[in-house]
Symmetry: D2
Subunit: 233 residues, 4 copies
C-alpha cells in the first residue's frame, strides 16, 4: 500500500514568476513590466543561474498545493515538522474511521509471518476502536488505540524554495522510506508542472555534488530521473 498524491493547484507560469522576481533585484525596470517582458529563453537562463549559485529566495513566489491520501500518521507526523508549509489534515477528533486501515511497511509485507501478525494485530486494533466507540468512548479518545500506521489525508502547500529544501532532506536514500516515497511522488508532479524550477532538486549529492551525512550511502544520485525510479529502494 502506498500513498496517492495529486497536484491540485499551483501558481500559473511559475517559472516566469520566479525569474521576474530574480531579475527585479538587479534591474532598474519597473516590477510590473518585468513579468511580461521576459521571453522563454531569459526565463530559462535566470533559473539556471539561480539554481547553480543557490540563490533560492525568488523561488518562494511560486506555490504548489498537493492532495495526499493513504499516508500513515507515522509519515504525517514527520511531514508537519516542515514549518514553512501549510497543512490541512483530516481530523481524528471529528471523523470516524469506518474500517480503520493502516500502511504495512515493505519490510513487514515481505516476511509472511510478520505480515500475518501485522494484519491480525491491525484487525484487533480496528475492532477495539469500534468497540470503544460503541461503549460510549468519544472518537477522539478511541483513536488512541489505533495503530500509528493508520491512514490519514492532507492538503499540503509549499513554495518552490521549501519544496527544494523538503526534497533535499526527504529524497536522500537514508530518509524514512514512506516520506521518501511521498517526496518522490511530489517531485514527479512538480517536474511535470515546472521542470525548470525543479531540475535538479533532491539530496545534496545531486543538487550540490556533495554529501554531509555522518554515514554516507556511497551511492550519489546523478539525475532527477534516477531519483524518481529509485524512491522505492
Amino acid at each position: 500500500m502506498s500513498c496517492e498524491v495529486s497536484l491540485i493547484a499551483y501558481t500559473p507560469q511559475p517559472a516566469r514568476v520566479v525569474a521576474s522576481a530574480a531579475k527585479l533585484c538587479y534591474s532598474p525596470s519597473k516590477a510590473s513590466c518585468l513579468f511580461d517582458g521576459l521571453d522563454a529563453g531569459a526565463v530559462s537562463g535566470f533559473l539556471k543561474k539561480l539554481k547553480s549559485v543557490g540563490h533560492m529566495s525568488p523561488f518562494e513566489h511560486a506555490s504548489f498545493s498537493f492532495a495526499v491520501d493513504g499516508l500513515s500518521r507515522v509519515a504525517s507526523h514527520q511531514l508537519v515538522r516542515h514549518r514553512v508549509a501549510s497543512f490541512s489534515q483530516q481530523s481524528q477528533r471529528y471523523v470516524r474511521m469506518a474500517a480503520p486501515e493502516a500502511v504495512m511497511p515493505p519490510t513487514v509485507s515481505s516476511l509472511p509471518e510478520a505480515a500475518a501478525l501485522f494484519e491480525s494485530q491491525l484487525k484487533s486494533a480496528a475492532d477495539a476502536y469500534l468497540r470503544l466507540i460503541s461503549l460510549g468512548v468519544p472518537k477522539e479518545d478511541a483513536r488512541f488505540i489505533l495503530p500509528h500506521g493508520a491512514l490519514t489525508s492532507l492538503i499540503v502547500t509549499m513554495n518552490a524554495r521549501e519544496l527544494h529544501h523538503f526534497f533535499s532532506l526527504r529524497l536522500c536514500r537514508r530518509a524514512q522510506w514512506e516520506i521518501r516515497s511521498l517526496a518522490g511522488k511530489m517531485l514527479a508532479l512538480a517536474l511535470e508542472a515546472a521542470r525548470e524550477l525543479f531540475d535538479p532538486a533532491g539530496p545534496p549529492c545531486l543538487s550540490e555534488g556533495r554529501c554531509r551525512e555522518a554515514e554516507s550511502c556511497g551511492q550519489p544520485f546523478s539525475s532527477v530521473e534516477e531519483i524518481l525510479t529509485k524512491t522505492d529502494d
Copy 2:
C-alpha cells in the same frame, strides 16, 4: 505621488482550494476528490463559516503575488517586517538610480513652503549621490545620502491568511499613510480576484467588530467598500 500595484499571479480557483482544505478536516472523503466535488454554493458556505469563526488556517493554501512600484524605502522597511511573506526587492547595491526620485508625503505637498524645501533638498541629495559616484564611491555607499523616501520596487507574495493579517494591521486608520495606501490597493486587487476570500478583510473594527487600539479613532469601518474609498484619508 503614490505607489502602483498589480497582481501578477495567484493560485487558480483560490476559493475552491481553501474550501476543499477546510472540508478535508471534517470529512472522511479523500483529499483528491474534495476539490472537484464542491459546488459553488458549498464553497461559499464554507468560506462564510471560516471567516465568521476566525478559522483561518485553510486560507494559507491560496497565494497572491503583487508587483509594487514607486514605494518609498520608508514603507518598504515596514513592509518587509511581515515575516510570513516573500519579497524580492530592487537592490541599491547593484542598481544605479538614474535620477533619484522620492515619495513626497501629502502633509508636505499641501504646504507650499514645505514642498519647496522638500523638492530642493531632494534635488541636492540626488546631485550628491551622482557626484559621489563620479568621485569613485560605489553605488552601495553613495546611496547612504539618498533620502529615506527614495523609490523602490518589490515583488511581494503572501498567502490569503497573511493577507488578512496584513490588512488587519495596515488598513487601520492609525496605520502609517503610505503602507495603508499600499494595503488598500492590494485589497482592491485581492477582492477582484477572490471576493469570497477577502470580504470582509480589514482592521478588527470591520472584521471582528471591535477595536483594541490604545486610542481608538472612533470611526469603525462598516464594509470593505468604505475601506477602499478611505485609504487616502
Copy 3:
C-alpha cells in the same frame, strides 16, 4: 497517566527584556542603556499596557524551553503543528521501546470494560512490536503497529508571544484534553518564572473578554488560577 513537564531553561529577567524592547520603539534612548535603566515599576507598567492593547511583538524576545515526558503521539502530532516553535523529539526510528506504554484517556479508564479492552489491546500491540523486531523488522517499521497513544518525549522551545498564542488555542475548554493538560502545566511553569508576562494568558474568553468558537461552552474563564485548576475538566 498524564504527561510530566519541566521548564529547563528560559531567558534571564524575561520581563525586563520584553519591557526594554517595547520601550525602545518609543524612546530616543540607546538600546544598550534601556535594559539597565528600567526599574521594576516601569517594567510592570509597560507589560500591563502591552497585554491590554495586544501589542505582543516585544514578547518574542523572551524564550522558554520545556522538557515533556509521557505525552502521547496523538498529542505530539498536534503540538508540532505550532510552527513558530522549536522541537526535538525522541525518534522511533532510532530508539527501541523497551516495554511500549501508552496514554489511556480518562473516558476509557473511567469505564471498566473499555479500560480492560484498551489494556489488553495495548499489551498485544506491544507484544507484536517486539515480535516484529525479533523477526528482523527494523524498529522504524515495527512501530507502525504501536498504538497512536504510545508515549514520546520532547524538548519544546517557544517565545513568550507564541506561548500566548499556544495558550489561547490550547487552554480553551473545547481543546483536546491531553494537549490542554500539557498547556496547563506549561502555563503554571511560565507563571512561576515570569508572572508579569503571562497573567493573563489563555483562551480569548479570559485574555480578550470574548469567544469566537462556533459553539461556545458558555463558561468563560475569569483568571489564570481558574484555568490552572480546571485543565482536567
Copy 4:
C-alpha cells in the same frame, strides 16, 4: 562611525540545552533527566558532531538577544529581512531625531572631497527635517527627507541556528560592509558567551569548506579568529 552591539540576554547554559535536545532524539532517557545528566565532555562531543554533519535543529533551543545602536537604516532594512528572528526597532514615527546623524561609509570618509560633500548634504538634510517639523509636518513624514544612512537602534533576538545562518550569509567578504561589521560584532559576543556553539560559524568557506558565490573572492577563511579580525576589510 560604526555600530555598537551588546548581548543583553541569552539562554543560560546554552551549550547544555542544545546538547540535551540533540541527545533526546537518540535516547530512551526522559527529557527531564537529560539536562542534568550530561557532563561537560558529553556536551562538547555532541556539539562537535552536530556541527560537523550540519544537524542544526537542536541549536534552535538557545536564544540570544542583542542591543544594537548606531546602525544605519540601510543596514537595518537588510537586517529585518531575516524572518526567523525578532526585532524591536526605534520608531521614526514616534521618536523625534534631535540632531539627525548618519553613518558615513569608509569609501566616503577616505576621500576628502566626498566626505565634505557627504557632511554638508547630511547637515542640510537634518536642517530640512527640523524645519519641516517646525512648519507643522508630522515627524513620520518629515523623516522622508532624512538620508537612508540615518541612525537607528534595535533589539534583535535570534536563536543559535538562525545566528549560524545569519553569519554564513553576512560574514562573507562579499556581504555589504556595514551588516558584515554588525555580524562580526555579534559573532564576537556569541563566541564569548558560548564558544562551543559558534566555533566555527561563518561563511561556507569556513563552515563547510566550499564557496557557492557566482564570483568567489578566492580568500577562504580558516578560523573564526580570522573572521573577527577581518570584518573591516
